[in-house]
Amino acid sequence: MTDFDPTATSPTIASVTDRVRPVNIGMAVTAAHFLSDRAVFVGSEENVAFVDPQGEITKVAVHDGGILCAASDGERIVMGGDDGKVVAINGKGEVTLLATDAKRRWIDSVAVHPDGAFAWSAGKAAFVKSGKGEEKSLEVPSTVGGLAFAPKGLRLAVSHYNGVTLWFPNMAGTPEFLAWAGSHLAVTFSPDNKFLVTAMHEAALHGWRLADNRHMRMTGYPGRVKSMSWSVGGKALATSGADTVILWPFATKDGPMGKQPAMLAPLQARVTTVACHPKNDILAAGYADGTILMVRMEDGAEILVRRNGTPPVAALAWNAKGTLLAFADEEGDGGVLEF
């Protein structure tokens, strides 16, 4: 153990804060996505904001009320609102109404499939509309916590209390049920389709190896995990919920079974948002004190993107090429960084 010398100045870390183009979005923000090379910030209610490369902001109304969920395939953003509507917006800013809940229930979760299918949930019901336009629905035993499409085929994971239902909407027969006690919220497939992971109501993740449904318990978080991001090729799953980025290894056929996660970029604040780079083994992490760091997964080397002292970071997104990083805090103070 090395001696701790409180008088020593803390090592200065590399900083790119001066290269950030600041963006004042002017509304509370919950998510960011890129449509082509335009950063799009999803507001907590009513609007999304497009930010073009010159930093100009264009707001587009999408919901009549709160925006509860959003997902993107890079071509469009699909959102669900407390107005009972499922809405899509494309890179040109064109808004399409995709569905309206008959009882005007809240749309709690949405998911998008690369081939154009999309899914949403309201209460205990999950709905899928495939490219051909036919709508199918599935009722699960309790309120849907999250939705995710498998990377291959039209298969939807529907998380709920006490497990996850795996549903092939175009096939007859009983959906498969993966049981695990507790309330399951966000759900995600590994990009290689071998693992399924849920963020639970408790401060823990739960995973299944889909080949044999073996369980993986991923615990030890001080807070609930609200942000998960797969590294390029699905070698690791980066998560929020602790005062370091927690990086679970998924490169081998056993995934994280019997292994410890890597703990990167420790700060005196909780990680709120993570986003892995689409091409390289680096990630961006946002913290509850407003800090944003870029972190190299191999050795944990850090670069400062944004200083602390603001509300929690709420949104982080890379463009598809990995040349642009967009971010914003909860109150809409954001920025775009170009590499």
Binding site: D108, K124, S142, A181
Partner: protein
């Protein structure tokens, strides 16, 4: 994480057995000209006669927490809905959660004790129970839910008093007091109660646990029946609470008050209290206390719901203020003798 109480949205929980008048009270709150906007979480859509875009239908989904504590249940739907409502911060001033007539208020309250996200943005204000003056006495006999709701309440709106005689009213009030003497009780017809009496009560605010006297010993803020039925029997004071109320002891659900003017030993008291709620927490619905610890210049306050406790130093004891410790427990089949003996052992002799 920011813990500024004033910024947290107050949440009022509205309970009451089927037909007691919850929806009437809710409609009154929403229609009154108070200049405030309420988000309302209801269990049955369509009963509310007021047009309000912030009325949200909920399925009461009670989840067990995976922490080995069997009575540690939370309302999963509430966590989700409160999270969604926080996206519309600024559009409403307070939240009202209406439970079904058969609901146990504990999971709602426990949600505020255990869920970090809920605690960050919202605070539990009070549990308000609407009771039917005509039928409550019967329900207390045959419906455990009705008894739970009375025992759990911070405020009781005793409704439909116009449908009963004075004697019947005194009877039902005494039955309520036999279970929960601490809740503020308001007699109403058609839920005509001042909104200040049911909203913004701060009943779960540790800073407002000021005194733990039974409600009917305090300055009268409601029109008690002064027609003493035992007038002229001045000697009969053992069951008289000063307002002619008969004293009932509910066989199953009671309250228990502990008091001492001697200081408590914190190294004995804290383990005793924690052990008590760990072992008897299923029976203890609510607990509260103001404590004077030996060698401590500050008042210590705590409150609990079943096995969950929270406590903090509140403020310095004032000059001349009697340094008394007072605790109350409301619960089912409380082991009174064991609790009293355990408490006695925490007193510095």
């Amino acid at each position: 994480m920011a813990e500024v109480t004033s910024e947290k949205i107050p949440v009022t929980v509205l309970t009451g057995y089927l037909g007691a008048g919850k929806t009437t009270l809710l409609n009154r709150i929403l229609s009154e000209n108070h200049g405030k906007k309420y988000a309302v979480i209801v269990n049955e859509f369509g009963e509310i006669g007021i047009d309000n875009d912030l009325v949200i239908g909920a399925d009461e989904e009670v989840f067990e927490m995976n922490n080995g504590c069997i009575c540690c249940t939370v309302r999963g739907d509430l966590v989700r809905i409160l999270g969604g409502l926080m996206k519309r911060k600024g559009k409403f001033d307070a939240i009202i959660v209406e439970t079904t007539g058969l609901a146990d208020p504990a999971p709602v309250a426990q949600t505020f004790f255990v869920d970090e996200d809920v605690q960050t943005h919202a605070r539990l204000d009070a549990v308000v129970t609407v009771a039917d003056a005509k039928w409550l006495a019967d329900r207390l006999k045959d419906a455990p839910e009705a008894k739970n709701q009375i025992a759990f309440a911070d405020v009781i709106v005793l409704n439909k008093t116009d449908l009963v005689s004075k004697a019947e009213l005194a009877e039902v009030e005494a039955r309520i007091r036999g279970i929960n003497p601490y809740a503020k009780l308001h007699r109403t017809e058609r839920c005509q109660v001042a909104l200040a009496d049911v909203l913004e009560r701060g009943a779960f605010d540790l800073d407002r646990i000021l005194d733990l006297e039974p409600d009917f010993l305090e300055a009268d803020d409601h029109d008690h029946d002064h027609d003493h039925h035992h007038h002229g029997h001045g000697h009969d004071h053992d069951h008289d609470h000063g307002h002619g109320l008969k004293h009932y002891h509910d066989e199953e659900m009671q309250s228990l008050a502990l008091q001492t003017d001697k200081p408590l030993d914190p190294t004995r008291f804290m383990p005793w209290l924690q052990n008590l709620v760990a072992t008897e927490g299923q029976k203890i619905l609510r607990s509260k206390g103001i404590l004077a610890f030996h060698g401590d210049e500050d008042r210590y306050v705590f409150q609990g719901v079943h096995m969950m406790l929270e406590g903090d130093h509140q403020r310095k004891w004032k000059e001349g203020e009697p340094r008394e410790s007072r605790l109350i427990f409301i619960g089912r089949e409380l082991p009174e003798v064991a609790i009293r003996e355990g408490f006695e052992r925490c007193i510095v002799s």
